[in-house]
């Protein structure tokens, strides 16, 4: 039976197990939306308020489920609005499938209404993309797109479908057992290299494991614990590795990087072995590269071969799925402990704690971001999903919420996209409806995608929005204070009445300005059935520390 390309697309998405689409209709994808009208029961469609919201929602969905996040937009501005979200997914290795409508094939290249070279624009920010001009090409393109997005290192793909291909009628044949040869084998590590790596670890005095996003992506949380518990290796996490190890594990020392904890940064350069697990030595983690891990032998596990030696030379690169590599290396590792090494961390932790105590005393009756997040963590039994925006709120959420379960801290780490949290929280809630989902946002980032309150209203998504309002672009202000002699150049914000805005969208909320109201406000916020905005007027000129300033080494980490 012949059917339209648009219907073939619906059937292809169902073949791939798609349940949710985040999208926005427009001229060049109207045939697809017409087909969707008949598939509404099988494919849940979430109408966002701006295409960027669709991309971040798809990311949030993918990050909590491990499945593909799908978005559907029209040509021209629909597609260009998606660009930030695609770039974000590329940087953070998120399996996203973006479907864009395109003008009819006969108009391609003619500067037709709402025509943009989407394949051209998205080439540098996708793992793969293609343009479809005939309905018959759709099934294989979809199969290929889904395969590529999730195999090897995950990433975004774009399928651009011209309007004539959406209308055109043909038979539907979906490819069976489709694969892409290039991505079929991801484990390329050799037994000799595993043995070599194990020997280095077995002979080390100060072994240090750095876990990254790859642990969560490959669901290797259990294997990480097996390796550290057997070897007694100390472990720290990158921003994206957060929640892969329970916060209270005795061998876990905290977060690495620019605003990570003190001891994990300070002692990085003392390690004699670095076991990097699914992380890519981002500049925010390494600080000054030329002074990074001078004494250590580096063992680097990554599924992406091009990450090996990119920033840090690896003595033993192991190419493969993190979970599989850890499973394979475990038998070669000897039982050991490194209590003296761990003790060095504990000693420095006391220094950080002392500064922390001082800070708490100073802020005793004040509303600060750390107070709010610490209390939120306690009141939610450390079990919620925190979707953090970008800036100070992101770092406070990373450091003061105590992550117990995997996939609980979701943020834009690589691209650092302000406005990420609100739409990503929508996707996360749809992907994990049984978990409590909180979006932590600042007053700057909130206003970058604030229109998604409309989506939350329409879909009745019970998302909790924690707005930490300091009336500044806080992270930039902090840098202006520390490195630009307090010249607060265009970082102050005159803000609207956020509670009233939420109210207009039918979303309940409360604003608090006093420390003594926090406890009760948080209880109401957490227990409210339905979406809720809690605005906390926090200290205006508060800073996040420790800090590894740009251009300095990780062992020069500042406590205050």
């Amino acid at each position: 039976m012949k059917m339209t390309g648009a219907e073939i697309l619906m059937k292809s998405l169902l073949k791939e197990g798609v349940e949710v689409i985040f999208g926005y209709p427009g001229g060049a994808n109207m045939p697809i939306y017409d087909a969707l009208y008949f598939y509404e029961k099988k494919l849940r469609h979430i109408l966002v308020r701006h295409e960027q919201g669709a991309a971040h929602a798809a990311e949030g969905y993918a990050r909590v489920t491990g499945r593909h996040g799908v978005c559907l937009v029209t040509s021209g501005p629909g597609a260009t609005n998606l660009v930030t979200g695609i770039a974000d997914a590329m940087m953070d290795s998120v399996p996203m499938v973006a479907i864009t409508g395109q003008v009819a094939a006969e108009f391609l290249g003619s500067d037709a209404f709402q025509e943009t070279d989407v394949v051209g624009i998205t080439t540098p920010i996708t793992k793969w993309n293609c343009q479809i001009t005939h309905a018959s090409e759709i099934p294989e393109a979809v199969a290929k797109a889904f395969y590529i997005a999730s195999h090897g290192r995950p990433g975004p793909v774009v399928i651009d479908i011209t309007k004539n291909a959406q209308f055109e009628k043909t038979e539907f044949n979906y490819p069976k057992n489709f694969f892409v040869e290039k991505l079929k084998t991801v484990n390329k590590y050799k037994k000799e290299d595993l043995q070599k790596a194990a020997e280095i670890i077995n002979n080390s005095k100060k072994p240090y494991m750095l876990v990254g996003h790859g642990v969560l992506i490959s669901k290797a949380e259990k294997e990480v614990l097996q390796v550290i518990e057997k070897t007694g290796m100390v472990v720290a996490s990158t921003l994206h590795g957060l929640s892969s190890i329970p916060f209270n594990h005795p061998l876990y020392v905290g977060m690495l990087g620019m605003h990570g904890n003190y001891s994990p940064n300070k002692l990085t350069n003392s390690a004699d072995v670095i076991l990097a697990v699914g992380m890519r030595f981002d500049d925010r983690v390494t600080g000054k590269l030329s002074k990074y891990v001078p004494k250590a032998k580096v063992i680097h596990i990554d599924v992406d071969e091009s990450e090996h030696h990119k920033n840090v030379w690896a003595h033993v690169p192991l190419i493969g799925n993190v979970k599989d590599v850890l499973k394979s290396i475990l038998p070669y590792l000897k039982k050991n402990n490194h209590n003296n090494w761990l003790e060095e961390f504990k000693k420095l932790d006391k220094k950080e704690l002392a500064v922390e105590k001082k800070r708490q005393l100073k802020n005793k009756n004040k509303l600060t971001m750390d107070t709010v997040l610490t209390l939120l963590s306690k009141k939610t039994k450390n079990e919620a999903v925190i979707v953090a925006d970008v800036g100070q709120n992101q770092m406070f959420a990373a450091r003061y919420y105590k992550y117990k379960n995997p996939d609980s801290y979701i943020t834009s780490g690589g691209l650092g996209t302000m406005g990420f949290a609100l739409p990503a929280a929508m996707g996360a809630k749809i992907g994990a409806p049984k978990r409590q989902v909180f979006a932590t946002v600042g007053d700057g980032g909130f206003q970058m995608t604030i229109q998604e309150l409309g989506t939350i209203m329409q879909e009745k998504l019970p998302i909790k929005i924690l707005l930490l309002n300091n009336e500044y672009l806080g992270m930039v202000r902090q840098w202006q204070q520390l490195f630009f002699e307090k010249r607060y150049s265009f970082t102050h914000m005159k803000n609207p009445d956020f509670i009233n805005i939420a109210k207009s969208y039918g979303i309940k909320g409360e604003k608090i300005e006093e420390r003594k109201k926090l406890n009760q406000a948080l209880d109401k916020f957490i227990n409210f059935q339905g979406p809720y905005l809690l605005e906390v007027k926090v200290e205006k000129e508060d800073n996040i520390f420790p800090m590894v300033a740009t251009g300095t080494s990780v062992d020069e980490v500042r406590l205050e």
């Binding site: 793992k127 793969w128 590529i148 991505l183 071969e305 091009s306 990119k310």
Partner: protein, 88 residues
């Protein structure tokens, strides 16, 4: 001659790719984003088997050439890639 010029070596990168639109763009994009200028390029389709061969010559810093080649090798349509120091 600046210091960075001294660290640049002339390399030739030989690539076998699926003969599809946009592949050359993807490869040259990866070079352009690192400000690598192509000194010579030769591309031709191999008759009958759906592949193309590409030869690039460019001055590339020694410390990044391996990563650049590996990044090109991530492109789905790239079938085979080799690089070596050019004679001229």
């Amino acid at each position: 001659m600046t210091k960075s010029d001294l660290n640049n070596m002339r390399y030739t990168i030989d690539i076998v790719v699926e003969n599809k639109p946009g592949v050359l763009y993807r490869i040259t994009g990866l070079l352009a984003k690192r400000k690598i200028n192509i000194e010579r390029i030769n591309v031709f389709a191999v008759k009958g088997n759906g592949i193309s061969k590409m030869f690039f010559t460019a001055d590339i810093e020694d410390r990044i050439v391996d990563t650049v080649v590996k990044q090109i090798n991530k492109i789905i349509e790239v079938i085979e890639i080799n690089y070596h120091k050019a004679n001229h």
